[in-house]
């Protein structure tokens, strides 16, 4: 394992991707500490406030400890327009490591690093809390997909014959279930008493329950060739049970494929989360996730005038790209047959 990490660091892209992911996971792990505001914070007088400007050189041109100004909202009735202006009467200095927060501002000041959303909630803080759901949901699915897929594919490939035929036809039937329609129906019939996180976890579990079949087919193919190796024959002659042979001797041979498939399937669940939340099937307000935060940027004027609402999209992009790059180079490292990228 340490060998793999060492090799990752030899590849430039993989190294950047690995460090980016490490950074993202560290940040969401310490979200409570890093985020300036709590999960439930909202200031309804500051709906769609732009990001706070932080100054390090004051008006007279001298270097200063970073400070910011508050915004005041004004409404112009003849234009029906809301304008944010800086209240330049008082400076608020940035404070580090106070009240259990990494970044905060003097009393009375407001620090919105990435502006606020429609309900006046700090986008930066919500990005961190939302990342907790968006970045971990994939692993929940992996916990279901991989054990089922490995065991199912292993048994099917090892026994072969009629067992194999039946099991594979069943897997194909599972693959043919149209997942999108299933989701829309599920959204309508799931019991109303669940919180949105529970609901979403259930949806992911169900997605995973129909998503293992493709993986099982590949594992079965690998097992078909491994079971004819001499060491398997040796196991059989000393009288090991079938299950023991599958679990202890055949499946470990597929480890490299499993690791690659795992890294490459996490991003698909991150994307699935954002897609579902965008459609209103995933994580629901007031809980945060990158997908439902990005939904706000759907409005035409928000893209034009409030570009900070697009930051969740940027993070989804970064996370997915990093996982793909990492998966790619792990494949190079673990698969001796393929050519190393030059």
């Amino acid at each position: 394992m340490s060998n793999i990490i060492e090799k990752i660091f030899e590849d430039k892209f993989a190294k950047i991707a690995f460090l980016t992911l490490l950074f993202l996971y560290t940040v969401i792990l310490f979200a409570n500490f890093i985020a300036p505001y709590s999960n439930t914070y909202s200031n309804r007088d500051m709906s769609y406030a732009p990001p706070s400007k932080i100054y390090t050189i004051d008006e007279s041109g001298r270097l200063s400890w970073p400070y910011t100004y508050n915004y005041i909202r004004e409404y112009e009735p003849s234009l029906m327009q809301t304008v944010y202006k800086q209240d330049r009467s008082k400076k608020y200095y940035i404070k580090l490591l106070t009240n259990g927060h990494l970044l905060s501002v003097e009393n009375g000041g407001r620090l919105y690093l990435l502006g606020t959303d429609i309900n006046g909630r700090d986008v930066f803080s919500r990005l961190l809390y939302g990342g907790r759901i968006s970045m971990t949901v994939g692993f929940l699915a992996l916990l279901i997909v991989f054990p089922i897929g490995l065991l199912y594919g292993g048994i099917s490939g090892y026994f072969g014959g009629i067992v194999d035929t039946l099991m594979m036809r069943f897997a194909e039937a599972v693959m043919a279930i149209p997942s999108f329609y299933l989701l829309i129906i599920l959204a309508a019939i799931l019991p109303g008493g669940m919180t949105s996180v529970q609901r979403f976890a259930l949806i992911v579990v169900i997605l995973a329950l129909i998503g293992w079949a493709g993986f099982a087919r590949v594992v079965r193919g690998m097992v078909l060739s491994i079971k004819n190796e001499e060491f398997v024959l040796a196991e059989k002659t000393i009288g090991a049970s079938d299950l023991r042979i599958i679990l202890k001797h055949i499946l470990p041979q597929t480890t490299s494929y499993v690791i690659i498939a795992m890294t490459l399937s996490v991003p698909s669940y991150i994307l699935a989360e954002s897609g579902l939340s965008f459609l209103g099937l995933g994580i629901q307000q007031p809980d945060a996730s990158w997908g439902n935060m990005l939904k706000e940027a759907q409005e035409f004027t928000n893209i034009l005038y409030r570009p900070w609402l697009l930051t969740p999209g940027l993070l989804i992009f970064t996370a997915v790209l990093s996982f793909n790059l990492l998966g790619d180079s792990i494949r190079d490292i673990l698969d001796p047959k393929s050519q190393k990228r030059t």
Partner: protein
């Protein structure tokens, strides 16, 4: 070499970061000059007059004369019309399209909201009799005259039989009885209702269809009739009588109408209207798509919502469009509370008994009303383009009770009201008199940015009172199912549109047996009388109000119903959006009104 490049990259990145961190404090110049274009005063033309020329009864428009020719392109959101049969329309787009092609006997005056004659020359009312005089010499597009036979056919063989959309038949019934209809001569018919019934006159706006064209299909039974005039009908075959006739329909793209050269409306120079050669409806998927089409100058008019208004207002001075503020819309957004205390088939109460105690308590509902911050909702969610709402009638309704002034958000009043109802606040947590924590669910339909943001705000407002609110956006159909069938909900945020002219249209919401009586929905055919006193009074108001004929007699009744809702608060109204529309300057004869919107007079509009 490689090392050198890496060093340069690292140094430049470090430099950029440094530049980003060191920011000089220079006062921002907010140089938004609020220059609004001078408003042209809209001079509304007088009402149309009847003019007879060569034995033909024309309707003369009093709007300024314009230029013939040109085309107007507007949009409709959704999937486009599902039918062109005016009797069978069940969605707004289809009825707009069919409305272009078929006129009713009467129509609504776009300014006053009163009923005025259209295809009828006049309507004489005496007691329960409505004598309708038709225009003479007016023709269908195939040259056949429009006569009393067409009217008789439309009502007797379509409406009274419940063909097409059966709601027209229900609306015509007075005390469950259809009116009598007799033909007096070729151009006169008489309706007789069993009782005086105020909303009846307005029902005569039902489109009149040509007997010779429709009868072969209606004779074959209801299913054949309902499938008649589907969107794929050849436009050349269609016989119609409205200002425009169908020219082309391209599924999911556009509906093209052309001018009916033989329409009965004329301008002040006695030239036949309409001015427009072509009227095109582009079918667009959603409002974002519509905005992009307007930006690309593909459409000539646009309804603006929320934050878009500011963007277009700012650009108005230098643009080729004018923005009209039509005042509050008929749409309302509200919070509805479940007052249902019945049990289902298994004797299980729909709403938990402890919650019933809270919801049935008027003071509890009043506390919620006082805790809701409508001002912030209007400012944040509607970007200021809305008005706080407190009444059951929408703000542009001619029956609006102007004495209900509403109130600001006041947590102290809310808390006092809760104390009065026996609730106790301990450490910021609210308990009822039995010691139960006050906790309930709040539903709305998922995927709607506005309602989800509203839900978040209502949740915060109520949590200020110490309640625990579980906000649950659910899929639209499951929400409707909860409200109408399973009744297992506590509170919900919903929206409805009403009629600004006829409060009787709200009877399905307010009468105790109504199909949309959401806050205390009874199953169909429910026989036990368990109405609250105020529900009984509402029932009485709605049955009496329909029987009174004049506005002056009806107004106090409908004022009373709004007062009851405001006092009892089964539904807590939040706000009503303001209707803002943009239309290109080249479109002339535009006289927007709050009641009818922007482009109600398509036959008078011309392009310069």
């Amino acid at each position: 070499m490689k090392r050198f490049i890496t060093t340069i990259i690292v140094i430049s990145i470090a430099g950029l970061v440094l530049v980003a961190c060191i920011k000089r404090d220079v006062p921002e110049k907010v140089s938004v000059k609020f220059k609004t274009p001078d408003l042209e005063e809209i001079i509304y033309p007088a009402d149309e007059k009847n003019v007879t020329i060569d034995g033909v009864d024309y309707l003369q428009s009093q709007a300024p004369c314009g230029k013939f020719g040109g085309e107007l392109v507007i949009s409709t959101i959704g999937e486009g019309p599902k039918t062109f049969n005016p009797c069978n329309t069940k969605d707004a787009t289809s009825s707009t399209m069919a409305g272009m092609m078929y006129d009713g006997l009467v129509t609504t005056n776009p300014r006053t909201g009163r009923v005025m004659p259209l295809l009828a020359k006049s309507v004489e009312i005496s007691g329960n009799d409505y004598i309708v005089n038709l225009r003479q010499g007016v023709k269908w597009t195939d040259g056949t005259l429009i006569t009393a036979d067409d009217v008789m056919y439309t009502y007797k063989e379509i409406v009274f039989k419940g063909y097409g959309n059966p709601s027209a038949m229900d609306a015509m019934k007075v005390d469950g009885q259809l009116p009598d209809l007799v033909k007096l001569d070729n151009y006169t018919v008489k309706f007789t209702t069993s009782k005086p019934f105020a909303p009846f006159l307005r029902q005569l706006s039902y489109p009149i269809v040509p007997k010779h064209y429709f009868k072969p299909y209606s004779d074959k039974g209801e299913s054949v009739f309902n499938a008649f005039l589907t969107p794929d009908t050849n436009p050349k075959e269609i016989v119609s009588g409205g200002a425009f006739k169908l020219k082309e329909y391209v599924a999911a793209q556009r509906v093209v109408f052309e001018r009916n050269p033989d329409y009965y409306k004329i301008n002040l120079k006695n030239e036949k209207l309409p001015y427009l050669n072509k009227l095109v409806y582009l079918i667009v998927g959603d409002s974002n798509n519509e905005i992009l089409k307007f930006e690309a100058k593909e459409i000539d008019a646009l309804a603006l919502r929320g934050s878009n208004v500011a963007r277009y207002k700012l650009k108005e001075a230098a643009s080729d469009y004018i923005i009209y503020n039509l005042g509050p819309d008929t749409g309302t957004l509200f919070l509805v509370i479940n007052l249902n205390s019945r049990r289902d088939k298994n004797c299980k109460p729909y709403v938990e008994p402890k919650k019933q105690c809270w919801f049935l308590n008027r003071d509890f509902r009043a506390a919620i009303d006082w805790a809701i911050d409508r001002e912030s909702m209007v400012r944040n969610i509607a970007s200021g383009v809305a008005e706080p709402l407190f009444t059951a009638e929408s703000l542009n309704s001619i029956y609006l009770n102007k004495y209900i002034k509403g109130h600001p958000c006041d947590l102290d009043v809310a808390q006092k009201s809760l104390e009065k109802a026996g609730f106790v606040l301990k450490n910021g947590i609210l308990y009822d008199s039995c010691g139960n924590r006050v906790e309930f669910d709040l539903y709305t339909n998922a995927g709607n940015l506005e309602r989800e943001a509203l839900g978040v705000m209502v949740k915060q407002d109520l949590e200020n009172l110490g309640m625990k609110v579980n906000f649950k956006p659910v899929e639209f159909n499951s929400l409707v199912n909860k409200l109408t069938n399973t009744h297992d909900w506590d509170m919900a945020i919903m929206g409805l549109t009403g009629s600004p002219l006829e409060p009787h249209d709200g009877k399905n919401v307010w009468t105790s047996s109504g199909s949309l009586h959401m806050f205390n929905q009874r199953p169909a055919g429910y026989a036990i009388d368990d109405r609250f006193d105020w529900e009984k009074e509402l029932d009485k108001i709605f049955s009496e109000g329909a029987l009174k004929l004049t506005y002056e007699e009806r107004k106090p009744l409908y004022d009373r119903y709004q007062t009851i809702i405001y006092n009892q608060k089964p539904i807590i109204y939040l706000y009503s959006p303001i209707r803002i529309t943009a239309v290109r300057k080249k479109v002339k004869n535009v006289f927007p009104t709050s009641l009818s919107g922007l482009l109600y007079n398509l036959d008078e509009i011309y392009i310069q």
